[in-house]
C-alpha cells in the first residue's frame, strides 16, 4: 500500500464531497425532514440544480424523497436514509481528522 493511500482524504465519500451535495446532506443530517424549497434556499441553488443533486443522492440510497400535499399545495419532503446518515457521519469524521491536521499544514505552507 502506498503512503498516499493512508491519508484520511482517501476515505472521503466522493458523492458527498461536492460542495452542493455536502450542504444538502448537512441540512438533512440536522433535520428530521426538510421541505424542498427550504433546502434550495439554504443551499442557495436553483430548483433544477437541487433536483439533479437530490436525484444522485437518491440513486445512491442516501436521501429519500416524499411528495405530498399541505392543503392544496404540493410539497416535496427530503430525508436522510439510515445509509445516508451513516455515510455522512463517516464523511464528517474524516473531515474532522483532516481539519485537526491544521498545524502541520501551516508548517508546510510556512
Amino acid at each position: 500500500m502506498s503512503s498516499a493511500g493512508k491519508h484520511p482524504r482517501h476515505r472521503l465519500d466522493e458523492l458527498i464531497h461536492s460542495p452542493v451535495r455536502f450542504s444538502i446532506m448537512a441540512t438533512l443530517a440536522a433535520s428530521e425532514q426538510a421541505e424542498f424549497g427550504f433546502v434550495r434556499d439554504l443551499v442557495e441553488v436553483t430548483d433544477s440544480v437541487l433536483s439533479k443533486q437530490v436525484s444522485l443522492l437518491e440513486e445512491a440510497g442516501y436521501v429519500a424523497v416524499r411528495k405530498g400535499y399541505v392543503g392544496k399545495r404540493p410539497r416535496t419532503w427530503l430525508t436522510l436514509t439510515a445509509k445516508g446518515r451513516s455515510a455522512f457521519r463517516a464523511h464528517v469524521a474524516v473531515l474532522h481528522e483532516i481539519a485537526s491536521a491544521a498545524p502541520e499544514t501551516v508548517k508546510e505552507h510556512a
Binding site: 440536522a30 392543503g71 491544521a102
Partner: protein, 141 residues
C-alpha cells in the same frame, strides 16, 4: 476529486455544517409556538367546557367544535412548516406521549373524584404542563 483537500478546506466544510445546522435549529423554533398554542388552548378548552357545562349543552357543543377547528388548524400549520430540527425528536415524542396520557388522566379525574369540584375548570393545566415546560425547553436549546 478530493486529492487536493487541505485541512483548511476541510475546516470550511465543517463551518458549512455548523452554518446549516444553526439555520435548521433557528427555523425549527416554530415548535415552541406550537407547544405554547396547544398548552394555552388546552387550558382554555377545559375551563370553557367546565364553566359552560352546567349552563347549556349547545354551548358545550359549540366549544367542542371550536376546539376541533383549533386542533385541525394547529395540525395543518405544523405540517406546513419547512423543517424540523432532528435534535427535537426525542422531546417531541416524549411530549406527545405525556400530553395524551395526561389528557386521559385529567378526563378520568374530571368524571370521578373531581366531579363537580369547584376548581375542576383548572384541570386543563395538567395536560398543558408538558407543553408549557416543553416550550421553555425548546427556547433554551
Amino acid at each position: 476529486m478530493n486529492s487536493g483537500l487541505t485541512s483548511h478546506s476541510a475546516a470550511e466544510e465543517l463551518q458549512e455544517l455548523d452554518r446549516v445546522g444553526q439555520v435548521v435549529r433557528d427555523r425549527s423554533r416554530w415548535y415552541r409556538r406550537y407547544l405554547l398554542a396547544l398548552g394555552t388552548g388546552t387550558i382554555a378548552y377545559y375551563a370553557a367546557v367546565n364553566l359552560a357545562a352546567p349552563a347549556s349543552a349547545a354551548l358545550v357543543f359549540a366549544i367542542a367544535a371550536i376546539w376541533t377547528a383549533f386542533i385541525t388548524f394547529l395540525y395543518w400549520w405544523s405540517r406546513s412548516q419547512p423543517v424540523m430540527w432532528r435534535g427535537l425528536r426525542p422531546l417531541r415524542i416524549l411530549l406527545m406521549v405525556l400530553y395524551f396520557t395526561l389528557v386521559i388522566v385529567s378526563l378520568l379525574l374530571n368524571v370521578t373524584v373531581l366531579h363537580d369540584a369547584p376548581w375542576s375548570w383548572a384541570l386543563g393545566i395538567i395536560p398543558a404542563l408538558p407543553c408549557l415546560i416543553g416550550s421553555w425547553t425548546v427556547l433554551r436549546r
